[in-house]
């Protein structure tokens, strides 16, 4: 597991992305597409109207029609800029989809017939429940479960991670993905999906944005924007009668300009780009969100359920200390512990070997001469060890060793019992080591909390998010680790049902819950959670149940996912606020300009001292168009997110985007007015 995000993102300035985005901006002018975005649709209608009027003016030889042309052009630019924003947001996804498509190229598969014979078929002919055989160097032809064998698999096509992963039959590491390549060994795979429905297919659709549906928040925001658009439409349409009453009727260019400046084009133009970019940011961190809804929900999460192992603590417990029994030397215990662990390939076993080597200078020995018989761990004995030279060396959990020793009249010494108790109380796990059924001492295994987790949890707490640690440990151990890690709560001796009950309980209190999981038994909880992140290494069932898949299989990433969700929502809110706040300045530019001729007294409202009425209106329209372009990077990158409480966050953002939104256009329009003067446009 790595915590590094991969540099799979193509930079936005990539000429291919830019080129495609520019072309798409024009394709998106199609009113059938644009009508889904009411704000920009109104702008397009406005552009059509002014263009038509300009054409008529030209045909009718009306003088001074340069103004009309410029307004029309800038209105078209406004629409194009908005389209460009969306196209840019989609661009990276599209580029990535192209790469993924390459992985989907047709391969030949060896299908195993019912009678056991093999036949070669194209991968597109495979159906669910087909059995195929894949050998070294071959591509896995479709999504499935390994049913026979173990193999190392290169999944870089999907995850971008070059280190191979192990896939084996049975257990939680049996899922393989179509398009990945077997590096060594041969496996049989039971195909689980039909062509066109594979994980790769779905991923392509997701990154392309083809399957994108508007999220609940986006829908609500769209309603708000549509409502505001109607209100401003009313304000502008009714302004003409008032103007006629006042004896200063306006021409169509001016009215359309006012309308376009007032309706929230900034956020209207960037809204879908923000959403797409949010998904994209997930993808850049190797998280595939199955829906935008899931991304949005992750911003709302109140409770994070984090598995202890691998998330809060380093993957595994490690041996940290030896406690010899009375009358046993530390060296003797170390020696026995090492022997008992030499063949133990579990992380715990290895950590004992490492500890003994570092602390007691005992190096691994060549045991072959001693004719050892390694005794593996079994569920029955719950011990492992080695028999050599007539010695029986065992290590195991307290219960197991106690049973094993006391059955032969060798009770566990009281001192060791005390040590075991102390270790358990402090969150460690005690192992006992025995030779010939005599207890030699205890080994302390401890969970090592990952560096920086406490700070992370503090940040989350400041954001109002509670973290709950899920562990199979007993409550005592769990409490100790929870304390050490700084989580807000824990669920000890957790069974899948407990996890489920916890999620339901929190949800009943109105909270949103996020969790990660990889096992098949996690699936129900993943489905129940509001944000369920399945590990890519996990089972197919887990991946189906969750609404996100982490290709890096890094459970810590849940925290990043929450941040991305929040960032997405903040970006939307910030740009909406900015957009609406902009209107104040535009009024002060356009209203005096409209009526300056009829009522020079209204010039006092021209606080920006824009030079001429035409320049004022043109400057406002140009500002309105350029601000979209100017904000594209922000929309795509997202507003900088800081893990702060709501009040601090709101104050900060209101200041920047609210107050800033009021002030910025005053400056911007004034500057543009000066440029317009220099360029002699109006």
């Amino acid at each position: 597991m790595t915590t590094v995000s991969h540099a799979r993102a193509t930079p936005l300035t990539d000429p291919r992305i830019l080129q495609r985005a520019i072309l798409d901006s024009f394709a998106k002018l199609d009113p059938r597409v644009l009508v889904k975005n009411p704000v920009m649709f109104v702008v397009e209608v406005g552009a059509v109207v002014t263009t038509f009027q300009w054409a008529r003016d030209v045909a009718g030889h009306v003088t001074g029609n340069a103004f009309g042309l410029q307004i029309s052009l800038w209105l078209w630019f406004t629409v194009l800029f908005a389209n460009f924003a969306e196209a840019m947001a989609e661009g990276r996804g599209k580029a990535q989809a192209d790469n993924l498509r390459k992985a989907r190229t047709e391969t030949m598969a060896r299908r195993i017939r019912e009678d056991g014979t093999r036949e070669m078929v194209p991968s597109s002919a495979l159906r669910a429940l087909d059995l195929v055989e894949v050998g070294p160097g071959e591509f896995i032809p479709g999504d499935g479960e390994v049913v026979v064998g173990v193999a190392s698999v290169d999944e870089s096509a999907i995850t971008g991670e070059s280190a191979p992963v192990i896939r084996e039959a049975g257990g939680d590491r049996s899922a393989v993905t179509g398009g990945t390549r077997v590096l060594s060994d041969e496996i049989q795979v039971c195909i689980t999906s039909n062509p066109g429905e594979t994980f790769l297919d779905r991923m392509i659709k997701l990154v392309e944005g083809a399957a994108r549906q508007k999220t609940p928040n986006e829908i609500a925001l769209n309603i708000l924007l549509a409502g505001l658009t109607i209100i401003f439409l009313l304000a502008v349409v009714t302004l003409q009668p008032y103007a006629i009453y006042s004896g200063a009727p306006q021409n169509i260019f001016v009215l359309v300009s006012l309308l376009v400046c007032l309706i929230p084009t900034t956020i209207g133009g960037l809204l879908s780009a923000i959403g797409i970019a949010g998904m994209d940011r997930m993808i850049q961190r190797n998280v595939i969100a199955m829906s935008g809804r899931a991304v949005e929900a992750s911003g709302d999460v109140d409770v994070l359920l984090l598995d202890k192992t691998g998330t809060i603590t380093l993957g595994n417990r490690q041996a940290t200390q030896l406690y010899p029994a009375p009358g046993v030397s530390e060296a003797e215990l170390a020696n026995a512990a090492q022997l008992a662990s030499l063949a133990d390939e579990t992380p715990e076993g290895r950590s004992i070997v490492v500890l003994v080597k570092d602390k007691y200078g005992l190096r691994g020995r060549e045991l072959a001469s001693l004719n050892p018989t390694f005794v593996p761990f079994t569920a029955q004995t719950r011990m492992s060890g080695v028999d050599l030279d007539g010695q029986e060396i065992r290590k195991g959990a307290y219960d197991a060793i106690e049973k094993y020793s006391s059955a032969f009249g060798q009770p566990v010494p009281k001192e060791i019992k005390d040590v075991v108790q102390t270790i358990a109380n402090t969150g460690g796990t005690p192992l006992l080591v025995a030779r010939n059924r005599k207890v030699l001492g205890a080994v302390q295994l401890e969970d090592i909390v990952k560096g920086g987790m406490k700070e992370r949890f503090d940040q989350l707490r400041a954001m109002g998010i509670r973290t709950v640690m899920i562990t199979g440990d007993n409550p005592l151990t769990a409490a100790a680790i929870a304390r050490q890690a700084g989580v807000d709560g824990f669920l000890a001796e957790a069974k899948p049902e407990d996890k489920m009950a916890l999620i339901r309980g929190e949800q009943a209190k109105g909270k949103l819950v996020a969790m990660t999981g990889d096992g098949t038994n996690d699936a129900p909880a993943l489905a129940q959670a509001d944000v369920g992140v399945a590990m890519n290494t996990g089972t197919q069932a887990a991946k189906e149940a969750g609404n996100m898949v982490d290709l890096d299989s890094n459970p810590t990433k849940l925290i990043e996912i929450v941040e991305i969700g929040k960032q997405l929502l903040i970006t939307r809110g910030a740009l909406t606020t900015f957009s609406v706040a902009n209107d104040v300045a535009k009024y002060f530019a356009i209203i005096p300009a409209m009526f300056a001729a009829a009522f020079p007294q209204l010039e006092v409202l021209n606080v920006m001292h824009l030079r001429t009425p035409q320049s004022a209106i043109l400057s406002a329209v140009i500002f309105n168009a350029l601000i979209i372009i100017a904000l594209i990077p922000l929309a795509l990158r997202g507003v900088r997110y800081r893990p702060l409480g709501a009040a601090a966050l709101l104050r900060r953002n209101l200041l920047i985007y609210g107050l800033g939104g009021v002030i910025a256009p005053f400056i911007g329009i004034k500057l543009i007015d000066m440029f317009v003067a220099v360029l002699r446009w109006a």
Binding site: I223, A235, G510, L650
Partner: protein, 590 residues
């Protein structure tokens, strides 16, 4: 402007502040059906009402039923008012033998009083009998005020309840509001008014002999002017105090007399004037506390109160300043404030009230949807007159009409929460309730109905012959008159730039439509929001929750209101009052 004038405004706000909590708590008790000291007297009456009307006291209503009941009650009582007006000739207490009200006027008046607007297209002294005033108009002052209050209570319940289908029982809320809230205060206030000189009798009008008979020019029906000597003055009487109390308390504003609260019999002294101001804001201000208390977030109630208070102060200060400046076109007239005179723009104002009390009254009556006036807004300076106009355009949410002010404000709270709430990185939440598409849709509908009605009708009138015919003050002021008329009708305010000749088919009908839209088509979306909110779960508060308390939220709320509303109306205002102001200082007359 004088220090005493500012002091009066300050004292007024302090009194309102002091009343907010006690009144708010009292209303919580009334609507939660908790015991109050009035129970021994009122409880038997309440039970009698339920028995007579067939109301099941313990039935809870979903928002749809609540709305249905509200609409039916308003419709039926409106019809009965119409019938009373049409038959007053044959009904008791008509000492002046006034005839039946004409159908179109009766209709306009029925709509107007049922919708808590109290727009008056008639001269009451010569149109309405005492019975019509009491049983028709004053009664509707009670009923429409109670309807407004209970709607606000239903909305508050919608916010406070969770995973609930119902909002309470309309009939029970209505009855309790009438008996516990409106009746006791009205009774008390009516007597205080009488003690100050507000008349209360059922006598015929009194004729007195003028001390100095006057020669006056009279224009006869044939258009010829002749000179007549007037010896007498006929003084209109009536049961004024009882109506005045509820007119003010229920933010109704329909005057017993044509001059409304400028009339010395309605508002005889600066003290009664101050009492009226306090009563207009009393219930709306108390309701903010009720909101805080019932939603278990007193801080939120106060934050809303603070937003209202801030907007009130802006308005009051602007109006006072503008009126104190006087009219620059009046050359040779002393308009400076001094120890012997208030100075300023005194056209349309009473001497006893002067500038401060009148500017304050105009602000208060339009912050609320009251519409009572103690001076003529039409004769205010352009900016002084713009304050009431903007207040109405904001939706009368600055304390606002009884109930309607609060629920209008809640719509803005929802919009503010939605726009800015995203900026804390969560789906916007209002007191633990997620604000979603449906809520936003209804909130926008509310705003849209208001803007649409005001803008479209006045725009149409500003270019249409029948609309233009109503204008009495030409130039930009005429546009203000039209805007004011439709804003007032839509906002259910009822005050006017009263020079407008609105007793025509065009205005009676369009203003009537505006009043109905402004009352009922704005109440329905709000109740829909309430019903929807009631169903939602409450997300427990955390550090990540958007707070609807404190100065930051108040600032946000005020900005949202100003930006959303004023942006809508700024173009219209710039051609009305703003232009008139600039032209006035340029020396232009029309």
């Amino acid at each position: 402007m004088t220090a005493i004038g500012w002091f009066q405004i300050g004292v007024f706000l302090a009194v309102i502040l002091a009343l907010t909590k006690p009144l708010g708590v009292y209303m919580v008790r009334v609507f939660n059906r908790e015991p109050t000291i009035l129970d021994p007297v009122l409880r038997p009456v309440e039970r009698l009402v339920y028995r007579l009307t067939g109301v099941h006291e313990h039935l809870e209503m979903p928002w749809t039923d609540y709305t249905t009941a509200m609409l039916l009650f308003s419709g039926v009582s409106m019809l009965i008012l119409y019938l009373i007006e049409r038959m007053q000739k044959w009904l008791p207490w008509n000492p002046e033998h006034l005839g039946n009200v004409t159908p179109d006027l009766a209709w306009n008046t029925a709509v107007s009083f049922t919708s808590n607007t109290n727009w008056q297209a008639y001269v009451p002294e010569t149109t309405m009998s005492y019975f019509t005033q009491m049983a028709g108009l004053a009664y509707h002052n009670f009923a429409s005020a109670a309807v407004g209050i209970v709607l606000a209570i239903a909305v508050i319940r919608g916010i406070a309840r969770h995973e609930a289908e119902t909002l309470g029982n309309f009939w029970v809320d209505l009855t309790r509001c009438l008996l516990w809230v409106l009746l006791p205060v009205s009774l008390l206030v009516a007597l205080v008014f009488v003690s100050q000189g507000v008349v209360q009798n059922l006598k015929p009008y009194t004729t007195v002999s003028l001390v100095e008979p006057q020669m006056v020019q009279v224009t006869g029906a044939d258009g010829k002017t002749s000179t007549e000597t007037v010896h007498d003055q006929k003084i209109a009487q009536g049961p004024v105090a009882s109506q005045e109390a509820i007119k003010i308390l229920g933010t109704n504003g329909g005057g017993f007399y044509n001059a409304n609260s400028a009339h010395p019999f309605e508002n005889p002294t600066p003290s009664t004037n101050f009492l009226q101001l306090v009563l207009i804001f009393a219930i709306p201000s108390g309701l903010t506390y009720t909101l805080g208390r019932m939603t278990r977030s007193p801080g939120h109630g106060w934050a809303v109160w603070a937003a209202m208070a801030a907007l009130f102060l802006c308005g009051a200060a602007t109006a006072y300043w503008a009126e104190a400046q006087g009219n620059p076109l009046l050359a040779g007239v002393n308009q400076a404030a001094g120890p012997l005179q208030p100075g300023g723009n005194m056209e349309g104002k009473e001497t006893r009230f002067g500038i401060a009390s009148t500017a304050l009254y105009a602000t208060v009556t339009t912050d609320a949807s009251c519409g009572a006036v103690n001076g003529m807004h039409d004769s205010f300076t352009p900016l002084g007159g713009m304050v009431p106009l903007i207040n109405i355009m904001l939706g009368e949410i600055v304390f606002g009409g009884v109930g309607s002010g609060l629920y209008g404000m809640i719509v803005f709270v929802i919009l503010a929460v939605f726009i800015a709430g995203l900026m804390v990185g969560r789906t916007p939440e209002y007191l633990g309730k997620k604000i979603e598409a449906y809520d936003v849709k209804m909130a926008m509908l509310f705003v849209l109905v208001g803007s649409f009605t005001i803008l479209v009708f006045s725009a149409f009138s500003s270019v249409e012959k029948s609309g233009l015919a109503g204008i009495s003050n030409p130039g930009p002021h005429g546009l203000s008159q039209l805007l004011y008329a439709y804003s007032s009708a839509t906002g259910n305010n009822g005050s006017a730039f009263a020079g407008i000749n609105a007793n025509t088919l065009w205005f009676n009908s369009t203003l009537g439509v505006a009043m109905l839209l402004g009352r009922f088509f704005m109440a329905i979306p709000v109740l829909a929001i309430a019903g929807n909110l009631a169903r939602k779960k409450i997300t427990p508060e955390s550090l990540g929750t958007f707070r609807v308390t404190g100065a930051l939220f108040t600032t946000l709320l005020v900005s949202t209101i100003l930006i959303v509303s004023s942006l809508t109306f700024f173009p219209a205002l710039s051609l009305g009052p703003i232009l008139e102001h600039l032209l006035m200082y340029a020396g232009k007359v029309f």
